[in-house]
């Protein structure tokens, strides 16, 4: 069952590569939150109930509901245009994300460790690199934030791989998740939206050498 959910998660990455509109990105993030809820629910049976409840609440409330609503609010408040404005055509993005998945797959063959499930490793690393790819190839700052959230999801999956033995690390990952997202989005909504009217990275090019 976890395997099925993880594979669906990987498919959402491919969809992320070809998505045109910001609204689609937000929907994908919300959907990934639901998938993470399912994965956490199934794989973390061994940890104590209170901790499990905390992890599940974080995935469902924070990742699935709060963040997408907040992103939507930012887009409407700052009147960001709905196109994602990639630098590269979507077809190339699709190919590159596929290549990322294949190469992490090949890398995972190096693992000679029966205790770590390889599929977690493959999905987590490909999510991480897909997130970095989104950050590098999209023009708007808000898509950078979304790329960062995708990376966070990848880290969450990776921490689930050791979740039963070291629940502390899952909690730390959640701490990072909440802390960094709130902080980055907070700066975004308060400051960048007020000062810079058209929010894309071209406005952030005055500091250079």
């Amino acid at each position: 069952m976890t395997n099925a959910l993880l594979i669906i998660f990987t498919i959402t990455l491919l969809y992320l590569g070809i998505a045109h509109r910001l609204l689609t990105y937000i929907k994908i993030l919300a959907f990934q939150g639901i998938l993470l809820f399912g994965i956490a629910f199934i794989s973390l049976i061994e940890i104590n109930a209170l901790n499990l409840a905390f992890v599940l609440l974080e995935t469902i409330i924070f990742k699935t509901i709060a963040i997408p609503l907040f992103l939507n609010y930012i887009i409407q408040r700052n009147r960001i245009t709905r196109d994602a404005e990639p630098y590269l055509p979507n077809f190339i993005s699709l190919i590159i994300i596929t290549l990322i998945i294949i190469s992490t797959f090949l890398l995972s063959n190096e693992i000679a460790d029966s205790r770590i499930s390889k599929i977690y490793f493959v999905v987590a690393l490909s999510t991480l690199f897909a997130g970095l790819y989104i950050i590098v190839t999209r023009k708007k700052i808000i898509t950078h934030v979304m790329g960062y959230l995708v990376i966070e999801n990848g880290v969450f999956i990776l921490s689930l791989a050791v979740g039963n033995e070291m629940p502390m690390l899952v909690n730390l990952g959640i701490l990072l998740d909440i802390f960094a997202s709130v902080f980055i989005l907070g700066i975004f909504v308060n400051r960048i939206g007020d000062i810079l009217k058209d929010v894309d990275v071209d406005q952030l090019k005055s500091l250079r050498d």
């Binding site: 700052i141 966070e152 070291m166 730390l172 952030l204 005055s206």
Partner: protein
């Protein structure tokens, strides 16, 4: 005592943040400085004791903590001068001092923590408090600097976390789940090489954002440029050392395993690229503050070369990082005065500094010689030892390349500094420029003098502390 210090530091920071009365804020800052000094002395007297399970004052922690305490006093004084001259509104002053106190507390805790996850948490806190300092001027450019810093640091802190996760994979195999540095060191030989390599790559890359090495150095440059100069001084000295502590402690563990030489190669590439990048940018740099920031990148690269070379290089690396903190912070403190006279950081707008501020120019000249590691600077001693260790480790070609790059750096640095000191400024209106009291340069002279003292005639305790902190590395 660590518990008292952490509670005291963070509650003082909150109090300063909430309070709007300037006078009471200054009293609170002074209270924090006393707390900081008392804490440092206490930890020195109780060396190698573990408190609250996660904090132990080992030699490296003590050395860097003392460095931080010494730099924090002039940093607060220059902040006071900086904020006093600008008639800022009380809210901004309160946020500034609150953030600075929180930054210093978080850095001290990161130095002393003996658990990799705890170090990680405090490094994250430094990002938060530093960003408030960078945003102090509240204009478009400082917003840009803050945004870039926060974003790059958020990504790099995530990379460190991924590294910790990989480390936990390999620990499971070794049959333990304690992520403290001492336990990692004990089990170093049993760690799985594949996971350890991945962990090293991720943790090293993550910490380079704080330490200022290729590949994640970029955000730090903008941050040091945009932050007020006392905050810039902290960021390019004690905050850099946080990155060093992270890399050094993990490198100590890796050096016990079979991937030691592989890790050396990784660090070597990052170090050479850092020095190269610093050289390229310094030759065309027109902004004095950014030039200082790039000079920090160069020194970070040299420190890493010391680690790679081994032998006497380990000792020199720790010595270099401490002396560099003193010299670079005094350069940044002095830069604040230059900005007050010329109202510009561009090299085109400044000149004839000797005429306007004699004491400041002497500081600038001396600090320039010291920062480029000319005798009697302490950096000369440590750099000489690093070069010797490179020679001993038969990295001869590397040594030649590094020396050539350093020569170019000295030329570029000198070109700008001599322009600042001697050439007349173009279109500069002399009327109404600010007279700067020579007393404001006193702290810089003390810091520079300390760097000579520690380099040429180090006290026995200091040498012992450095030797203790490198005792776990292979000899």
């Amino acid at each position: 005592m660590t518990g008292i210090y952490l509670i005291g530091g963070f509650s003082l920071s909150v109090l300063i943040f909430l309070n709007r009365n300037k006078f009471i804020n200054y009293l609170l800052v002074i209270a924090f400085l006393f707390l900081q000094i008392g804490f440092t002395i206490y930890e020195y007297l109780h060396i190698d004791e573990t408190e609250l399970n996660y904090f132990s004052a080992d030699s490296l922690g003590i050395l860097l903590l003392a460095t931080l305490t010494i730099i924090s006093i002039p940093a607060m004084y220059h902040s006071y001068v900086y904020l006093g001259s600008k008639q800022d509104n009380p809210r901004h002053t309160a946020i500034y001092f609150g953030a600075m106190v929180a930054l210093l507390t978080a850095i001290s805790a990161a130095y002393l923590s003996n658990h990799i996850a705890v170090t990680w948490i405090f490094v994250e806190l430094t990002t938060l408090s530093a960003s408030a300092l960078i945003y102090h001027r509240r204009n478009n450019r400082s917003l840009e600097g803050t945004w870039k810093y926060v974003f790059v640091c958020a990504i790099s802190i995530t990379l460190v976390f991924i590294g910790i996760l990989f480390l936990s994979f390999t620990l499971q195999q070794a049959g333990t789940d304690d992520l403290s540095f001492s336990n990692l060191l004990k089990n170093a030989t049993g760690l799985n090489v594949f996971w350890l390599r991945l962990a090293f790559i991720f943790i090293f890359t993550g910490f380079t954002a704080k330490f200022g090495l290729v590949p994640m150095y970029t955000a730090g440059i903008d941050a040091k440029d945009k932050a007020p100069s006392p905050a810039g001084a902290l960021m390019s000295s004690v905050l850099m050392n946080v990155g060093f502590v992270g890399i050094f402690r993990f490198y100590t563990i890796v050096s016990r395993t079979s991937i030691h030489s592989w890790a050396n190669h990784v660090i070597l590439i990052a170090a050479i690229l850092s020095i190269f990048v610093a050289t390229v940018y310094m030759t065309k740099m027109k902004n004095i503050k950014r030039m200082f920031a790039y000079s920090s990148i160069e020194h970070a690269g040299i420190v890493m070369l010391g680690l790679v070379a081994g032998g006497v290089g380990y000792y020199a690396a720790v010595l270099h990082i401490i002396i560099h903190a003193f010299i670079k912070s005094s350069l940044f403190f002095q830069q604040g005065q230059i900005y007050r006279i010329y109202k510009s950081k561009s090299i085109y707008d400044v000149g004839n500094y000797f005429k306007y501020n004699l004491t400041g120019s002497v500081v600038m000249l001396v600090a320039f010689f010291f920062a480029t590691a000319m005798p009697p600077s302490g950096l000369f001693i440590s750099e000489f030892m690093i070069f010797r260790s490179l020679f001993d480790a038969s990295y001869l070609w590397l040594l030649i390349i590094v020396m050539l790059l350093l020569t170019v750096i000295i030329w570029a640095f000198a070109k700008n500094i001599f322009k600042l000191l001697f050439s007349p400024p173009v279109g500069f209106n002399e009327e109404g420029i600010e007279r700067i009291s020579p007393a404001e340069s006193l702290s810089q002279f003390i810091l520079l003098g300390l760097s000579v003292y520690l380099g040429l005639n180090p006290p026995q305790e200091f040498v012992t502390l450095i030797q203790e902190s490198i005792k776990n590395l292979p000899h």
